[in-house]
Point group: C2
């Protein structure tokens, strides 16, 4: 088979590259379940098993999974969502291809839904009170899948009910600066309805920023310039192309935090303490509703007032004006916009499904791999493209397991999270419930949400220690499509950076809070990664794939436009499977902690360059930070040398375990639950939100920004000093974790 | 030797008792340093080595240590304190009897000292401004050791400077209730000087409570009723007996938290962020000064006003009146009391000394054993009696180590903490600096502060998992003095309780914040214990040993009155050595986690009995707590069974390590850094302060107390529900830690 030859060559190349992680290969116990661990305490990654798994991951089965998963809309907590819980349980309990065990665990969480009796409604109301125009209440039924009671109408989850009415203004992306700009232009904002477009800032932020200016309600739409590379005509869009049709509306959660809103830091068990929803924070302060660009065009292209600046213009085919109100000569002269939102908060049951393959040697070390299950509508891309891959990988591993061909060294935990779309709720509740156990035992968390955005290249985010294992995997797998490049060699063509240590390498992004990895990295300090196949960014400027969170994200859409043949899905399955197996089976954990040094150096240099001069004026020295980074680097290098030396000599499993514990727990050393008390769950001092200001230590950057206009000796400058100390202490603690364990 | 025979018998008895902890004994590697760990991965506790160590712990060497340690006053950060740092380093680096390595680490911490130029002063000032009486500024020089520049005059550390003057009132122990009682009696408190006696509430609380009533300054003395069993005459007290002389004054820290006051949650490194001392919290709000009972008698026995109630009376030989002011007919008629405090806050260097014996098999598991080094004056009892024991134990172990006779399985860390007297500062800064490393790797912390209060019996505090290992040790060692009882059998005569599981056992107290174990248990969740020899409580009601924190706590005092022959010191050394070796060398960790079940059951029953009815009225169910306690119990029992089964069969070192990790990390599962935000460092949901109200879950009890007078639906009742959820989640997390590691 051609594929096998390619793989063989790539494997050979990877071996030549010699990452030094795979060591002596010992026999894998067969048959016994669980096998006697003493027989295999030195069990290492088996390249043959890895090759077998790569070979068995089947594109057509991923396609079938996707068809089944996306057959019906499966909004969180809906009967269809619950049906998928049962599907996952059946698969993971299958006697031929299932896992060692599988369970569903259910939380009682606060979700938000539009009212069925009183649909949300956006209308232009004439001076006499007549409705002159109504926006669509649902998307156009183009493929027969956009209708029916299970398609939730477009809405802004967690937006409060209300029926504000006022003059329309156009507020670009609804950022703080956008509203300030309107104010500067003399546009009266009080009592208006602000039309905004998606992008720039988070969904909820648009309402938060608007409310600060006494705006009464907010509309959001997706501009064809931002999603369709400008195309907006029906015959240019789905089902004629992959572009968003004029009636398509992005649904989404407008909640500002993540996790169940009523049970911060506590698992949402039925008996758990719950906040009063009336006093819970993080919900949009004013009504907000998303609409399609077809309707947005009617509103926007009839506005009066000054023309918006070039940056604010979009692709609706008219000059975007700012308002307030419609042009006097037009059909809506003197009209206002009425926004009727009737969303309701409801306590609902939402389940995670967890499946485990018991580690044969170190069952108390967990490699977690998860994706959410809930969608907004059919969710073929989001999230079922990920779940389809998850199921195929669990099938292949489960089959080897049930045959007794293979048992991983460490435990593998598969997770299907519930209610991610409402704010990473299932995964967050899971981390709250098992905080202690996970903090002690989790080796890494792998997230695949949308597995395929597009067919161009692999894309990965993660903390520095996972870079090397993703690279190792990507070098071993052929890229889909013509040519014989590896996924790695293809990837480096699209996203790359110049590393001071390695030269040109694919660039691995950092982890925000866009999917279920967030509680794992930010709250628990578990080395995490997010993997997908994605666009050629030189060919599209789309924010995301065009039908994101709409009723047009269907199986047909994927099959026809996103990944015909499902080879990109297969590529993701192989990459993830390869990474997963390296993490679960390698004797020495393939977490390259010294790759943190590069991040720390770049953060340090940014701090010295951009913050240093003003810090010096305020007598705040970066000297201790320089020392701490150096200490970390030295400790990481020395640990690498100890591992190499051990690999060359003789060693016993306890020695390997102790070193692996240092590697696994390094990420935990960067946690400080008291560092950012106002940022719920964010405890990782290197990856807390940075306000997009500067790629440096985030607490330091945020405190600096708040202090910059205050007097010397202010509380804000004291906080800068405190944040600096927090980073220094974390780095020194991290260095201590890496140093020889019996050093004082 | 008689002693050997006794020990032999006790060892035999202990073996018969069969605690099932010591398993198959493997050869201990000799010579190599460090030995090849692979040769000894199944290394277990060696009863012969244990017996050797018990035999070599020498009372006369402890006596010599004590003499050397207490020769000079060694107040924290003084040159004499620094000289002891060097002494410890010499001992621990000795080529014949030292440890594998030893280091001093220095923090820059905020201490408080009286001014040398302006001594603190308490005087009675007549109506015309004449000083009619002055309290002593130093203790009487009875043995030649109470004079000289290195004897710090009595003072209240961290009391603010000030020179308040006002009418004197007597306020008993200065509790909230005491001041309320004075108020109820119509005693005008505003602007007065309140005379209080030690005991009842913490030192700092007396000033805090007084300030709430606008008292201007506070005096504190030790009543002979509370310390001397009533004796107060010079010929009844030291140097004629062990009782406190009339001029003796208890010094102490009046800081309300622990750790360096300027660097909460951060190690006090020179570059660390520091709070502005003017805004730091926890200092006494008004001047306060301790005095001797000789001077207190002059003040108290001349007061006018109503007689204090019987509970408020003491042993000064007069009727205690409440004031305000002195009796009209007496020599101080119309006089006021002037209190001049000139204390200064100073940043000082204070060192910890750390010594380590590298574990031969699991160097990354630490058994810590510490005591503070700093004293108020000579500190023969406090803390040198503990340091003398520490040095003897480190000598015996170091000698075996240097000879190559023995290497522990796990690492042993000896610690000599600095600046404990000012608020557990050295130990707290250590836990802040190495939080992550310790949380991952520390098996247990053993504290011996004052090793011998008196000669009657062993006394121990600790978390439930350490009870069994203390019992095992105590059963193996003969009690000092006549008779052939073991320490255990002697102990049970003095302090005992009826355990539902074990029947009559010695009672192990719970850990407050009285010594350096506090940051280990409360902040880090490390199983901890505190061990000493102490009084026959039926023979004395003294608050502590009489010369506590005075200049009379000298070597001669110990030798003559506290422990002539040093056999109680030796008994403590043997007990601690035995516990330490069991923790460091046993293949299976001797932490009996199921002993937590008894605590949980008793907490639960107290909650059900005393809080249950009112909780029910507020619709708060204890049902989830009952379930969580049951889950914990089942998991603990099942884990015990798995350990027993493993011990009977074959096992490899990795399996033992995994089980030991469950035992070690159980205590961590009870930590929740967000449970008690107002209680600095307290994160352990079972051992946070309880306000002495009820022996139950502390957060629940405190919240209940605050809610009890509020309306249904109040925020205070919501907090009760939140605290209940916090406990339930912690217990469920603890149960998850104990369950089979590959269970979902």
């Amino acid at each position: 088979m051609q594929w096998r030859k390619v793989l063989g060559r790539v494997v050979g190349a990877a071996a030549l590259l010699g990452l030094g992680i795979i060591l002596g290969h010992f026999a894998i116990p067969k048959g016994a379940n669980p096998p006697a661990p003493s027989a295999s305490a030195s069990q290492d990654l088996d390249p043959e098993i890895l090759e077998t798994i790569m070979g068995q991951l089947d594109a057509s089965r991923i396609r079938e999974n996707l068809r089944e998963l996306s057959r019906e809309p499966h909004l969180a907590s809906s009967p269809q969502d619950e049906a998928l819980v049962q599907l996952l349980l059946r698969r993971w309990r299958d006697p031929e291809s299932g896992l060692d065990s599988a369970e569903a665990s259910t939380y009682e969480v606060l979700l938000s839904f539009p009212s069925q009796e009183q649909p949300n409604h956006v209308a232009i109301v004439g001076p006499s009170g007549t409705i002159l125009f109504s926006c669509r209440q649902s998307e156009e039924n183009l493929t027969g899948e956009q209708g029916g009671p299970d398609v939730v109408p477009p809405y802004a989850a967690y937006a409060p009910p209300g029926t504000p009415q006022g003059l329309l203004v156009y507020a670009n992306r609804g950022s703080e600066d956008d509203f300030k700009e309107l104010q500067a232009q003399g546009i009266q904002l009080k009592g208006t309805i602000a039309l905004t477009r998606y992008g720039g800032v988070g969904r909820g932020a648009k309402a938060v920023n608007a409310a600060k200016h006494e705006v009464a309600g907010v509309l959001v739409y997706t501009d064809p310039a931002d999603i369709n590379d400008g195309r907006s005509l029906p015959n240019e869009t789905f089902p004629h192309s992959w572009h968003l049709p004029p009636s398509g509306v992005e649904r989404g959660s407008y909640y500002e935090y993540f996790g169940d809103p009523l049970t911060p830091y506590l698992p949402a068990n039925p008996s758990s303490f719950r906040l009063d929803p009336a006093t819970a924070s993080g919900f949009p302060p004013i009504p907000i509703q998303p609409i399609g660009f077809e309707d947005a065009k009617v509103l926007l292209c009839n506005l009066q007032g000054p023309s918006a600046e070039a940056d604010w213009q979009g692709a609706l085919g008219c000059d975007y004006k700012l308002g307030p109100g419609f042009e006097p000569g037009g059909m809506f002269a003197g009209s206002q916009v009425n926004l009727s939102v009737h969303n309701r908060l409801e306590l609902r049951n939402s389940s995670n499904v967890l499946g485990i393959i018991r580690g044969a040697v170190e069952p108390d070390r967990y490699v977690l791999y998860g994706n959410h299950r809930d969608s907004w509508v059919h969710g073929a891309v989001d999230p079922s493209s990920g779940t389809a891959v998850l199921l195929e990988l669990s099938r292949v591993l489960g089959t080897l397991l049930k045959k007794g061909t293979w048992h991983p060294r460490r435990s593998i935990v598969f997770a299907s999270w519930g209610a991610e779309e409402f704010g990473l709720i299932g995964s967050t509740e899971f981390t709250e419930e098992f905080f202690c156990k996970l903090q002690e035992r989790a080796v890494a968390y792998i997230n695949v949400d949308i597995s395929v955005f597009a067919n161009a290249t692999l894309s990965a985010r993660g903390t520095p220690p996972v870079q090397s294992v993703i690279f190792s995997a990507a070098k071993q797998i052929p890229a889909p499509g013509p040519g014989s490049l590896s996924i790695y060699d293809n990837w480096i063509r699209y996203f790359n950076r110049s590393s001071p240590v390695y030269g040109l390498v694919p660039s691995v992004g950092s982890l925000g809070a866009g999917s279920d990895y967030a509680p794992f990295i930010h709250f628990l300090g578990i080395s995490s990664m997010d993997i997908a196949y994605t666009y050629d960014r030189s060919k599209t400027s789309a924010r995301t794939y065009p039908t994101y969170h709409t009723a047009f994200d269907t199986f047909g859409y994927v099959e026809k436009f996103v990944d015909p043949g499902f080879s990109s899905h297969q590529a993701v399955a192989r990459t993830v499977g390869n990474v997963l197996l390296r993490l679960s089976d390698s004797l020495f954990l393939p977490l390259n902690v010294s790759d943190y040094s590069e991040t720390l150096q770049s953060f340090l240099q940014a701090a010295q360059l951009y913050l240093g001069p003003l810090l010096e004026k305020h007598s705040i020295s970066l000297g201790p930070l320089v020392t701490a980074v150096e200490k970390f680097e030295r400790a990481a290098v020395a640990l690498g040398q100890r591992i190499s030396a051990l690999q060359k000599g003789t060693f016993d499993p306890l020695q390997v375990r102790m070193l692996n514990d240092q590697l696994m727990l390094l990420e935990r050393a960067f946690l400080n639950p008291r560092a950012f008390p106002e940022e719920r769950y964010y405890s990782h001092v290197l990856w807390a939100p940075r306000n997009n200001f500067l790629d440096t230590f985030p607490g330091l950057a945020s405190a600096f920004l708040r202090a910059i206009d205050t007097d010397p000796g202010s509380a804000a400058w004291a906080e800068v000093q405190r944040q600096l100390s927090i980073v220094v202490v974390a780095l020194e603690g991290a260095a201590a974790t890496l140093r020889p364990v019996a050093d004082l």
